[in-house]
Subunit: 232 residues, 2 copies
Amino acid sequence: MTFEPHRAEPISRRERPAKPALTRSGIVDAALAILAQEGLGKVTMRRIAAALDTGAASLYVYVRNTEDLHAQVLDSLLGAVNVTGGSGSWRERLAAVLASYTEVLFTHPDLARMSMSTHPSGPNYLGLLDRLLALLREGGIPDADAAWGVDLLLSFATGTAVEHGHEDPGKDGDDFSALAEQIAVVDASVFPHIARVGGELLSGTGDTRFRWGLDVLITGILHTNRTPSDGI
Amino acid sequence: MTFEPHRAEPISRRERPAKPALTRSGIVDAALAILAQEGLGKVTMRRIAAALDTGAASLYVYVRNTEDLHAQVLDSLLGAVNVTGGSGSWRERLAAVLASYTEVLFTHPDLARMSMSTHPSGPNYLGLLDRLLALLREGGIPDADAAWGVDLLLSFATGTAVEHGHEDPGKDGDDFSALAEQIAVVDASVFPHIARVGGELLSGTGDTRFRWGLDVLITGILHTNRTPSDGI
DNA sequence: AGCGTATGACGAACATGTTCGTTCCGTATG
DNA sequence: CATACGGAACGAACATGTTCGTCATACGCT
């Protein structure tokens, strides 16, 4: 029943002194299994340790903290991003890659939120980064701009996943409904512009907003060069 | 020594039956005091409850959870944002307002991280939103674009604060150094574009990157209209 | 072969967020 | 005036992250 990829003797603790050593990858694998079966909420140190028939403290030899572990898990998940997908112009292929990235993050909004603060820095994330740089280069964007542009693009895609990612449909969607309610009731004499724009603030499906934001970013990057030292 | 703005009898618990009732604002005030004196790390339910001479469970009548409380605290802090600052063109004033916003968030990166997932939706946040909409309108940007644009701008500013905000200089700066190390050691045959761009990815001070990103966004918003139904 | 040391596994401990059932108080109601 | 009711405060409990000190094991050195 319990998933045990790297430990062999679940029977007794002190029975088998030659217990296979823990591994960072083994811990991540166990975390992925639990994530798939029980959701991120159950991916806790104690739960993983139990699956590996050990104590939570033992994991800290290979994992700095929960954030580190989750970052590792996220990078594994990023292997599902289709970096070579899309067709047509470089812009369309760039959009396809970022859409695929957002789609993966959509599945686990909590991980998306985490990746906003601590970048994964794993092989899959680096692969995505490299692909984006290649596409921007194909679009004729100078390296200096592309280097800062990918940061903007990834930050935007991640932010989109965080904002429009719904953890449990059962929950009442705190952040969205809270702000929506405030906007709906807003006093036009105090915040005239919010009242005027109104529902536009929250309008549009996640997809249309995503495409629009992407267009804004790419267009902006194309028109904002820092290499000629024009404006910095 | 302990800060007690809304509770009067710290002596004994059952001595004074007429203990003043707790208040949401009182809780937030206590949280702000602890934040100022001991940092966000100590702004815990139990710590606040102790300052108010009660139990942690009592706070949950007025506060949904820690995130809700922190959001409230953040909105209070946003009162320090200079929404009317800056001079010159609307772009420069817009940049000044967002810079002020980022500056406030810089002081408390943890709160910035939180505001990335759950929007504050308090009066100060709404004031900032309203001001940004006014500036975009002054720039001749259609309401439909401005409504989505503010989201982009605020998300960018918040993300900047999260990424370049250093919690404790004593800590070894996990996310930055981790990614930096990976980039420095990256294999040019596997990730050629990362290797080529190299240090450019992490170059520039936070300020120059912020200004560049802001230019990208504003320029992009100016050139990407969704109203004429041209491209959506 | 015998020994010492470093590495890692482990249990216990502490602080935290959150929930549950209970108790208490003020107030409306008869 | 007595009573019932509802909201709010409370204590205890549970799960979690993280750290500390201890101890066993395996490997290298003499």
